[in-house]
């Protein structure tokens, strides 16, 4: 597709290109190829040598990473104006994930060899790329916090259900764990801390899942607790 003329207005509105002058955009996109993908197409595959990096103009792509034991995880969704396939940022010669088209997509592709020269020539583009990476890092950090919180909640829910199985007794209030149990006991059972167990139990009490008293826990909504333990959405 060499020689195709791409109009700067294609990218003008995107944050990444906003700081650039028209001539800069012209030079930049004269090096790019416009590529169209149908829903279900694979743009590139995890582990494949990275030959190009992309800016998505229109459509939607998801990045899927496959773990060594065969689990597939959707790492992120890419929308208009976003960079993807930027293996050099990860200091990797290969793509770290597979990009699958979710909705018909048009993207600009640049040869990966142009990566550093673009940034040396257009520092404002480099700033934009750093911002992209920064956003992604912030998302990743938020996800880590979310996953670890979820994980602890699941373990505490499992521990309470095990206690219900062992020592649960039906009462008017709900299922009483008929056995003196402290928050420290629950922390020990779940490899968690007293502070975390206390915070979790208080939050659950507010949501009407349990009722707490000193050394006494009543499970008011066992079914919802079970959903938390299973990692299903509780609300």
């Amino acid at each position: 597709m060499a020689g195709q003329h791409l109009d700067p207005s294609l990218v003008r509105g995107f944050d990444l290109f906003r700081p650039l002058a028209d001539e800069e955009i012209e030079t930049l996109i004269s090096r790019a190829q416009s590529r169209r993908f149908a829903e279900g197409d694979t743009v590139f595959t995890q582990g494949e040598t990275a030959a190009a990096f992309f800016v998505l103009l229109h459509g939607r792509v998801k990045a899927i990473r496959t773990t060594p034991d065969g689990h597939q995880v959707v790492v992120r969704h890419v929308g208009p104006g976003e960079l993807f396939g930027i293996a050099p940022v990860l200091r990797s010669p290969v793509y770290p994930a597979t990009a699958v088209v979710v909705a018909e997509t048009v993207a600009l592709a640049w040869p990966i060899a142009d990566w550093s020269s673009h940034f040396l020539k257009h520092p404002s583009l480099a700033l934009g790329a750093i911002a992209t990476v920064g956003d992604r890092l912030a998302d990743a950090n938020a996800r880590i916090v979310e996953l670890s919180t979820e994980e602890v909640e699941r373990r505490i829910a499992h521990a309470l259900l095990r206690l219900v199985a062992q020592a649960g007794r039906k009462t008017e209030e709900g299922i009483l764990i008929d056995f003196p149990i402290t928050r420290q006991d629950l922390a020990d059972m779940t490899g968690s801390t007293l502070a975390t167990v206390s915070r979790t139990l208080s939050a659950w009490e507010d949501r009407g899942l349990v009722r707490n008293a000193r050394r006494r826990v009543v499970v008011v909504a066992p079914h919802r607790l079970r959903l938390i333990a299973d990692g299903a959405s509780e609300r």
Partner: protein, 70 residues
């Protein structure tokens, strides 16, 4: 004696293993659930948002068609 809505799900599945299929079919979480020995058919249908009469009828039908274990 037909299954009663006050019987626990654990007891029902233990006595009439054919009823396990009913819990599966209704996508219920009761199989092997730690709360199963305390929760009755009435509790379980309430928590899963199912019609208790319908669930009871399905359980009775499955129990009638299958073997009973002491």
């Amino acid at each position: 004696m037909p299954i009663d809505s006050q019987e626990t799900v654990d007891e029902i599945m233990r006595r009439w293993p054919a009823t396990i299929a009913v819990f599966l079919r209704h996508r219920m979480l009761c199989i092997g659930c730690p709360v199963g020995h305390l929760h009755t058919v009435a509790d379980a249908s309430h928590d899963h948002g199912l019609d208790p009469g319908r669930l009871l009828a399905d359980l009775r039908a499955a129990a009638d068609g299958g073997a009973e274990r002491g």
